[in-house]
Symmetry: C2
Subunit: 188 residues, 2 copies
C-alpha cells in the first residue's frame, strides 16, 4: 500500500472493524480509502493502493454499491469509472441505518410476525410467543422512532441530540401543559 501512515492506519482500522460486523476486510478498506480521498478513484488505483487484486476490488465496489455507500462518476475522455463517497456524513449515517434496517431488522420482524400468527401447540409455545411479542414490540417501536428521526432535518436533529436527556424536562413540561389544555401531544 502506498499511503501516508495517517491514511494507512485509518484504512486498516476499517478493515478490522469491517470484519467485526458483517462486511469483509476488503470492503471496509476500500470504503475507508474512498472516504478520506480528495478525489474520486478508479478501480485500478484502489487495487494498487491497497494491493488487492483487481477483481477483488471489483467485488468490493459492487458490495459497497449495494449498500448505496459509494457514488460513481465519469470524466470526459476517460472510460474508466471513478468512485467516491458522499460528502455529507449525516447522509452516510442515514443510508447505513436504512440499509441495515432493510437487511437485518425487516426480515426479523417478518419472521416474528409469522411466528406470532401460528397457533401455539403447547404451554412452551405460548410462552415463546409471548416473548417474541415483547421482542417484536420493542423492535418496532425503536425502528419506527428511528425512521421518524431520519425524516427530521439535520438542524432539528442536532438540536435534539444536543439537548440530550434534558428532553425529559421538556416532555414533562409539555405533558403538564396538555393536562391543562386537555389535548394530548402523543399520537395514536
Amino acid at each position: 500500500m502506498n499511503a501516508t501512515p495517517l491514511v494507512q492506519s485509518f484504512v486498516s482500522h476499517f478493515g478490522e472493524m469491517g470484519s467485526r460486523w458483517g462486511i469483509n476486510r476488503t470492503v471496509g478498506q476500500i470504503y475507508a480509502l474512498l472516504f478520506v480521498s480528495e478525489k474520486p478513484l478508479n478501480a485500478d488505483e484502489i487495487a494498487e493502493r491497497l494491493s488487492f487484486s483487481r477483481s477483488n476490488v471489483s467485488m468490493g465496489l459492487k458490495e459497497l454499491e449495494s449498500w448505496r455507500l459509494v457514488r460513481l462518476q465519469h470524466y470526459p475522455g476517460d472510460r474508466r469509472e471513478y468512485f467516491s463517497t458522499p460528502d455529507d456524513v449525516w447522509a452516510i449515517f442515514k443510508t447505513l441505518a436504512e440499509e441495515r434496517k432493510k437487511r437485518e431488522v425487516e426480515p426479523t420482524l417478518t419472521m416474528l410476525r409469522g411466528a406470532m400468527m401460528e397457533t401455539a401447540g403447547s404451554e412452551a409455545d405460548r410462552h415463546a410467543q409471548a416473548r417474541m411479542k415483547e421482542m417484536y414490540q420493542l423492535i418496532e417501536l425503536v425502528t419506527t422512532w428511528f425512521s421518524d428521526i431520519q425524516h427530521m432535518d439535520v438542524e432539528t436533529l442536532q438540536r435534539l441530540m444536543k439537548l440530550g436527556s434534558q428532553v425529559q424536562k421538556v416532555l414533562q413540561f409539555t405533558q403538564s401543559l396538555s393536562k391543562l389544555t386537555g389535548r394530548d401531544t402523543e399520537r395514536e
Copy 2:
C-alpha cells in the same frame, strides 16, 4: 433439534442473523433458545436441543457471558449451571447497545483522535484529517446522545419514541419560549 416448529424457526433465524453480523451461528441460536425458554437450561440441555457438541455450547455461552446477555443460576442439590436471558427486553437492548459501543465505537473514536493529533505531511493528509474530524464529530454526537437516552427511565423513553417526529414541534415551541424568557434550554 427437538423443538416445536415455532421455536425452531425463531432459533434458526437467529442463527442466520447472527452470522450476518459479528456473532456466529451457534451463539445466535443458543441465545434465541434461551430467550424463548420458559425456564433456565443447562449446557447439556442446550447441546441436546440444538445438536451442538457440548464444547461448542460451552464456548458459545462464554461468548454470551462476555456480552452480558445471559444470566447464570444454580438449583439446590444440582451442581450444573443453568442459563437464562434477562426478562426485560429494554434492559437487553441497552446491554447490547453498551457492549457494541464498547467494542466497535470506542476503538474507532480512539483511532480517530490519534489520527487527528498527527501532523499532516501533505495536502492529502490534511484533507484526510478533515474528513476524519467530520466522522469523529458525528459519531461522538450520536453516541453521547445514545448514552443520554439510555439513562432515561423507560417510561420517558417510550413517551419520547411514541412522540416520534412530533418532538420537532415541541422543540420549536420550547425554543420560542426560551426566546421569550431569555433562557436557553440547550446545554453547553
